[in-house]
Amino acid sequence: MTETAVRVEQLGAGYGGEPVLEHVSFAAQAGQSVCVLGPNGGGKTTLFRVLLGELVPTAGVIELSGRPAYMAQTERTRLDFPVTALDVAVMGTLAAGRWWLPPSRSERDAAAIALERVGLARVAGVRFGELSGGQRQRTLLARALVQDAPVLLLDEPLSGVDPASARLIVGVFDELLAEGRALLVASHDVESARSFHRVLCLNRHQVAFGTPAETLNRATLQATYGHELIVLDDAGGTRAVTIQHHEHGH
């Protein structure tokens, strides 16, 4: 029997005023990937903040098989901060709760292994700000890998990444799924959502949850994105493209 990694029932969340997210119910089994689609302000980041325990839900129930790891967007990091790729990966060990102690030898080894896994062993000593965009994204993935979490929350992990890094990151995702971890990936890329096991569509409430075949249709996507969605009809069928504004907060 497959273990449930994440289960959410009738979740509601907000920041004191109007609810930002309402009536969200979904589940992911170990080894499953869920693509979280939605417009800016649709509630993707809020959902992640609730799952991480940073934000107390206003309604509903959450069950997690363990503390999730989070991969932030690189544009939220400070490129002038004097830390190397290895330093950033080592930060992942802080999730173990021993923040007042210096990193142990085994923690530094775990960080080095994580960097090797994302193909960055050779640049471990390079400053984070001097890495390419794709390398920075892989470094943040290494920081998440170090946490050895059963559930990973990934905020637009392929946004602005070069094709080689994207292939490497997707390869690591496949390995993580094979290891029985669950992945929740916030994305604007409707087309890439077709490769996930499940798709969760949010627009301040849950529009749909199901397999790609059940959810990635014109009616659901228009209910999710409204006028931010452009539907293209070409020889190969129908393609949906979203307009990205790169705003954050909800």
Binding site: L52, A69, Y70, R76, D87, L94, W99, W100, R143
Partner: protein
């Protein structure tokens, strides 16, 4: 031109030298985090914001150190509270710092105009003195240096994670808000400790200029701490000698020297080919 050995031979200069050495330790350890966490304005403001407390203490006979620490701690707590109310996305505390600084300075000016009869006391508070240092000042500086070192050892990883990526740090389950509050409190107390030597207006000469110069010389956090400590110590010794020679308070020469070092380093870096 006086002998440099007077710094070691004359008791009041020896005490001033020891005071500046202790402040240099804090300037290296804590100053690195002040620069990395963009708290330069806060460190300046924390010193200046103690002004009303020092005025009131002088008038009422309360220890100026205790009054200064009380005001500085209250100021630090108020800044963090104001920043949190202003928005969780705020990466620095600039707006809250400015708001409460204006309030503190206005209160201090009103108090000073009614309380002080001599401008000399105000000048000593604002620019420091070599002659007025006593054992209590040295003890406070030693305690602050110890607290700064202990704080950096215990919280350095958290400060680093939060400074690099606040969202990612919170997701790691780190006590980010409490660690930030402790950093602000440490900086506030450190600012009070520096007031007797360099004055409330020039605490940045110890806590910001040396690490700002060190930032241009090194690319790691450990290197920044070590280099800032060395620069603060060197600028303190030379500044003290200049103050003795020119018969002026210690704060201005240390500050001018620190600013010159930063300007020269920036000019050299600017000339270096990319």
């Amino acid at each position: 031109m006086p002998s440099p050995f007077d710094l070691a031979d004359l008791p009041f200069l020896r005490e001033a030298l020891l005071e500046l050495a202790l402040l240099a330790v804090t300037g290296g350890v804590l100053g690195a985090w002040i620069v990395l966490r963009r708290l330069a304005f806060f460190s300046h403001a924390a010193g200046s914001a103690t002004f009303p407390g020092l005025v009131a203490a002088d008038a009422s006979g309360v220890s100026p150190t205790i009054a200064g620490i009380a005001v500085a701690l209250g100021y630090a707590g108020g800044v963090q509270r104001t920043s949190r109310v202003a928005g969780a996305s705020a990466r620095d505390h600039a707006e809250g710092t400015a708001l409460l600084l204006v309030a503190a300075l206005a209160t201090g000016v009103i108090l000073a105009s009614d309380v002080f009869e001599s401008g000399a006391v105000v000048e000593r508070l604002l620019f420091g003195t070599l002659l007025g240092l006593d054992t209590a000042d040295l003890v406070l500086s030693a305690v602050v240096a110890t607290l700064a070192a202990a704080g950096a050892l215990a919280l350095g990883r958290t400060w680093s994670a939060v400074g690099f990526d606040p969202d990612g740090a919170r997701a790691l389950g780190l006590p980010a808000a409490r660690a930030d509050l402790l950093l602000l409190l440490l900086v506030a107390v450190a600012a009070v400790a520096a007031i007797p030597a360099v004055g409330a207006l020039l605490v940045t000469a110890i806590y910001v200029l040396p690490p700002a110069a060190a930032r241009m010389l090194t690319g790691s956090i450990r290197g920044l701490v070590a280099c800032a400590l060395g620069v603060a110590l060197a600028e303190g010794v030379v500044g003290l000698y200049l103050a003795y020679w020119l018969d002026v308070p210690a704060g201005p020469p240390v500050a001018v020297l620190g600013a010159l070092v930063c300007l020269v380093l920036a000019a050299v870096r600017g000339r270096r080919p990319a």
